[in-house]
Symmetry: C2
Subunit: 326 residues, 2 copies
DNA sequence: CTGTTAGCGCGTTCAT
DNA sequence: ATGAACGCGCTAACAG
């Protein structure tokens, strides 16, 4: 910057202003400075800039997994929307491990980000402390419940589970099952399972079978189906914690000669692209995936532009997409 | 930090040392300082630290898309491996837009990262300039070719296309097609398409049909199949630029009563989890996805630990996974 | 509108 | 082994 200033014949401060707040510099100097800094290939040092300015254009976003297409989608959306406003996403991933989350949150907070976005509502004490003592807006996304730390934007996973149970109960199903991926670690999937169990029991007086899958991929859907049928042969309907598991079960059903929905009804969750392309097409519950990313960005931007904007706690709801597997 | 120093009754420098290089401080003071800083919830300011230290623990990684499961997988892997060494990933995504890439690279470079990892070999002049003038190691991943900017770790997409063509040619196929997603933007998919076309033409003297799909999802695979059959009804084998497209085509084939591989042979690319679960199971080409992430991390770590480590240019190769759709 | 000056919070010499 | 002092590159006040 010193060199630019020297060549352009101005002071350091003017160079800084010309690049940071061009409207505060006379057009003549501005163009000259811009020209010189381009010619010299000058790139401002963000680190020094933020040290002096006490704020970075960084938004920390922490998700459990990057390969989970929901989070990948949210991140892709947020990246694009924030980029347009000059913010840059700092992405963290903890693999459903709250201790790892704690370390990542601490690391992110030390960068003085403009905002911090985390997934879900289950955090360690320390995470909570770090989050609440950081000066920036904090958003908990992808879940909904009472009293978020700061702002909450998502939907009730428990309600999603209940919706599935109610749907099955209305069809007069007595023997149902819920297959969930890593229910021990994924508290949102667990909330759906729990909502399903409670509501189904409440409405039908039958206790549904709950089965845990080891991951959210197709192969596990197939083997989970076998386990369900082994433990509860009369099962006539299964709800899954993800579309991929559901599709895996459909493939497996095909292999063992079960017809869908005749012999077995299948309900997915996610409404991924694949859901409207299988044969038969998959009935599924759609979370507000696009709405979440948009709402988070909009809210954070508002808070950043008008710091007195109040926190929010939004429930964006879920939707049953009726197709052909139920 | 000042507060910690005061409470512990030492100087700022000693606090810094106790936290940064504990072995340089007497055990007594060290434990006292650690205790105090924990009690006070002191979190060092990374920004100030890097300004003084002239290097950040940040690794910039730029991919075209986060929802593409290959890149998501590589990122997830890299996140975990780098995290274990105290590095933090800074992730960027440009949606196959080289101008956006240029801006992201510039933004990342201004953070003084420890390393910069980009996807592919096609970049704008400015990107190339920024990259080569940044002091850190630079890795171009997911593709292979002559003379990378600094280090290259990937495989030859052209060779992958040729492999598919050779495989079809050996089966005596005359009417073949290649369906690729966004071939206008994704230069790696285009390299596969081009390799396929050249090799198939070379071996059979038949020009294959090349069709572009608008995205890499299942729905597009189905409609691409219809387009292929419309333009070249005698097509007996199709290679796809992605497994999801291939599976979409399989579903569509099922709907229109085409049997696979009897009436139509299908070859995927990616070897996603779904490939070994469809009925019939999908024959596909597997890129070295896990090997890429690992190799990038290993190489970057080596360069960081021993700065005189030479650059590399690795071709990790692809593999044909023979299953039941060909 | 422009220049001068004072830090931002820490790592790192250099003395001691 | 410890402390004092400097400076990393820039932005924000202030003065002119």
């Amino acid at each position: 910057m010193e060199e630019v200033a020297k060549v352009a014949g101005v002071s350091l401060a003017t160079v800084s202003r010309a690049l940071r707040t061009p409207e505060a510099v006379s057009p003549k100097l501005r163009t000259r400075i811009e020209e010189v800094s381009r010619r010299l290939g000058y790139a401002p040092n963000r680190i020094a800039g933020s040290l002096a300015g006490a704020r970075t254009p960084l938004i920390g976003v922490i998700v459990p997994s990057l390969t989970n297409s929901f989070f990948a989608g949210t991140l892709e959306q947020m990246t694009t929307l924030f980029e347009a406003k000059g913010y840059q996403l700092m992405i963290g991933q903890h693999g459903y491990d709250t201790d790892r989350e704690e370390r990542i949150v601490a690391a992110f907070a030390s960068w003085n980000p403009s905002a911090l976005v985390v997934t879900g509502r289950a955090h360690t004490r320390n995470t909570l402390n770090t989050l609440s003592s950081s000066a920036c807006p904090v958003v908990e996304m992808w879940d909904h419940g009472e009293r978020p730390l700061d702002s909450g934007i998502g939907f009730s996973n428990r309600a999603a589970g209940k919706l599935a149970a109610r749907f099955f109960a209305e069809q007069g199903i007595a023997k149902a099952a819920f297959v969930g991926a890593i229910l021990d670690k994924d508290d949102r999937a667990r909330a759906r399972a729990e909502g399903f169990r409670q509501e189904f029991l409440h409405l039908t007086r039958f206790e549904p079978l709950i089965v845990t899958a080891n991951n959210r991929e197709l192969g596990e859907g197939g083997s989970a189906l076998k386990r369900v049928l082994g433990q509860q042969p009369e099962t006539s309907a299964i709800a899954f914690s993800g579309d991929m598991l559901a599709v895996g079960a459909m493939f497996e059903a095909d292999r063992i000669g079960l017809s869908i929905p005749g012999d077995l009804k299948i309900l997915g969750y996610g409404d991924l692209d694949i859901a409207r392309n299988t044969n038969p097409r998959l009935t599924t519950i759609r979370p507000p995936h696009n709405a979440i990313g948009e709402a988070v960005v909009r809210h954070v931007l508002e808070r950043l532009e008008a710091p007195d904007t109040p926190s929010v706690n939004l429930d964006l709801g879920v939707k049953l997409i009726l197709r052909e597997t139920v």
